[in-house]
Structure formats: structure tokens, C-alpha cells
Amino acid sequence: MLYIDKLSYSSALRSISPYVKTVFAVSTLLFCVLLHSYIFSLAVILLMGSLTVFLSGTSLTYYGRLLRMPLTFLLLGTITIVFSFTKDSQATGMLHFMGYTLVVTKVSLLYGLKLILTALGAVSCLYFLILSTPFTDLLLVLKAIHCPEIILELLLLIYRFIFLLYDMGEKLDCAVKSRLGNRSLKTGIPAAAGVFQMLFIGSIRRSLKLYDAMESRGYDGKIQVLTKKYTASAKEIGLLILWEVVMIVIFLLQRRLF
């Protein structure tokens, strides 16, 4: 997760307006789910993948690793859809169990494949967005769609605190290991409990100190900070509209033809 954050800051697409990128990724995701077709999903995976790898600058190996994470989950999830039990005594399956037969039908197999492709298509859209857009820019998008102030302020603080806590946790873990705290389960459990305890106390103390520091700068209940102003170029907007039109046409064609 920390590496994704780093990549988003060094992405070559970082300077492109986050609004354009978000509309692009989210609309493609929606069409991908709505169309629910092999070809379109595959096309989306390839498009988003190549945009992320070739334009945004994520390495192919890392992108592959990222895609594998949901893939395991998806495969496990679709097993239940692809395989089914039937009571039909005529069925030829692989496993017979108390009168039931475990079967795989051609329909269920294809359906499972379609599900995996659609889900991966959707995931690749989100990967494109988070690998090319820093979190602070995503907050701008949330602000633009009128997300409540309080949630935005909380997200800003949480984002910073994730890294502070991660840092603290890493140091504590290192301290435990350097004193052989992880030698066996017997020493490991109390050591882990100690780490969690310190993290909890540490985060409270940190937040109190941070509050003092914010107060000393005149904090009066509202976090306001300077945000970057993005303007989308005509070319970006043009491409975006073109892509949306293409997707709508595909959508209409599919509904009429199939």
C-alpha cells in the first residue's frame, strides 16, 4: 500500500487533472460492469494496463503483482459458481457424494470466466486511478462532488496518521526483533501485545501534541489548506468525450444486437 502511494507521486500522469482521470476511470468501470462482456472487459484490462504501465510508469512486474492480488480472491470466489452439485443421476461429474454429483457445465464455466474478466476490468480501472493520482488530488475530486467537509478533514488527518503509525509500528517491530522478541510463539505474543499497546498510547499522545501544534498556528475548528488548481486541457477533455461516446455506442449496439 505504501508503495502504491509512492508510485502515485512519481507517475508521469500526475499533472493531468484528477477530475478528468477520475471521470475516465469511474465511467469505464461502470460500463465494464454494465456491459458484462468478454471482449469489452478484456479490452479494458489491456487499455488500463498499458496506460498504467507505459504512460503512468508503473513497472510491469509490479503491476502484475498488483493484479495477482485480486486474482487469487476471484478464483476462490468463482469456484462456487463454476462448480455445482446436481441430483440428476444421468449427470457425469467428477465426484459422487450421497446421491449428488459435482458437475461443471459449459455455461457455468463461461459465466465464471466472464465474471473474472469483468472484475479484473473494474480493478484495472481503479488501479489506473490510484497509481496515477496522489491521495491529495483524490480529495480534490471528493470536494468537487460535495463530500462533507468533516469527512475530507478526517481523511486528510487519517492519511498523515497512517504513515506516522506505520513508521512507529516499524520501529517498534524492529526493537522487538533486535531483542529476539519474535524468537518463539511464547515470546512473540506478549511482544506483539506490547507493540500494539505502545502504538495505541503513541497515537493518542501524538494526536494530543499535534493538536497543540495546530492550535499554536491559530486552528479554530476548520482545516483549510492551499490546494493545487488543475485545469484540464482541451485535448484531455476531447479524448475523454470521445471515449465516453465510444463506450455509449458499444453499449447501445450490445443492447440491440444481443
Binding site: K6, L156, R160, E215, G218, I223, Q224, V225, L226
Partner: protein, 281 residues
Amino acid sequence: MSILTMEHISYSYEDGTKALKDISFSVEQGEKTAFIGANGSGKSTNFLCLDGILKPQSGRILYNNKPISYSKKELLDLRSKVGIVFQEPDNQLFAANVVQEISFGLFNMKLPRNEIEKKVEDIIDYMGITPFSQKPVHLLSGGQKKQVALADILVMEPVVLLMDEPVSALDPIHTRMLHEKITELPKEGITIIVSTHDLDFALQWADKIVVFHHGFILKSGSPEEIFMDKELLVQAELIQPKVIELYRELTEQGVLRENLPVPKDFEILKNYMLEAYYGKI
């Protein structure tokens, strides 16, 4: 004219720890003051009191000869004029990226957006933050975080700047850079109070030294007066700066002639020694 005054301030934390006991001192406009003292002697608590973040149980604090009333409006006003740079940048920086972080105080001062943009840009340039101004805070090094922490406060153009151990845990380059800034800023009229363990720096920089010990002020005075008083330093659990120690030894041994002014840095002492060896140059 004194800009900040503390009169008989006492403060104890909720757990009963008495952090400040009957503290009185005043700081003149443009004066360079250094707070010295062992860990836990009350320096940091004093800073929090001076900014109105902690409210002392007794005594009063005057800003511009006017007592602080602790009304919300007046506190905000005080905090826009008295700024603290905290010891640990991680306890001060809260925003996701550098520009956001620096602009926070200006928004609290209710300045117009274009003015904020201009000021943030200027301070980024002044503090040498430009190479990492687009980075998120968590990807900065310790020294860079400290630069941002100082920029946070400087951008608000404070009248008084409180710096809590500004060079603790910094590498030599960042230490030198920060010391240069601390030396530069008073020339622009900013009154600075630094709490520090770097006594060599306190000796050459400060106009006035305040010695804290267990929540009391043991003594305040000129750097010469404080650092020549070896008994005082022992009592305060501090060590005499090396320059002063050598100067004393050499004067006692008769190597240096009597009544030379107390040297504030190595360079001056070196010249004394050269003069003693070669005669008047």
C-alpha cells in the same frame, strides 16, 4: 520595550507534576534569548504557556505590556504573533503535502487566497524548500521536515518566534542552515527565543541566557555572566562550553593576560592565543 513578560507563572499538569514554579522574566523586542537547562526543566512547558496553549494556574503573561485574557479572539490574535516551532516535526506537520502544510496558518489568519499563494511561494523559496515542495510530508527526510516546520511558522510572519530545540537530531548541514536562519531572522526584527542544549551556539548567538532547573529559573543574564559561573552550571546540571573552559584555564595559568573580554567563539579564543604566543600582531 518588553514584548513578552511572565510574572510569577506557576503551572502544574493534571497528574500533579509541577512543571513551572514562580517563573518571572521578560524579553525585549528584537532580543535574542536562549533557554538552557536539563531535560524536563520546564523549557517546553514554558513555550506552551507563552503561546496560550497551556493556561498557568497562577501568575500572568503580558504581550506588549497587555495581560493575556484567554478569550478566544485574543488567543487567536496572540498565536498569529507568537509562533512555536516544535522540537519534533512529526508532532507538528499534519497535512498531506508541503504546500498544504505551509498554508494552514495563513488560512487561519483569514488572509485572501492570492495573498496566501504568494506568501507560501516566497517562504518556499526563502527556506530552500523548492526541490521537495511538491512531495508528500511522509516522504521527506528529518532535516527537510524541520525546514518545513520552520517555514510553517515563518510564513505567518510572527513577531516572536519560539523554537524548541531547533537542531536536535539534525545532521551538521541542516544544523548549520538552521543556525544561519536563527542568526539572520533577528536582523529582520523578529524576536527569537530558542531552547537549546547546544551551549556553544547559545554562547555566541544569545543576548540573554535564562537557566531553567526543575521548573525554576536559576538565573538569567548575559552569556558571559552565565557561562563563567561554573557553580551555577553545575547546579543546573549543565557543562561549561569548551571555549569558556579553555579561556578560564589559560587565564588562570597566566597564558592569557587578565581582563580580556570573554570569547564567544573558537575564532576569538584562537586570536587571543596567537596574540599571547607571538605578542601583539
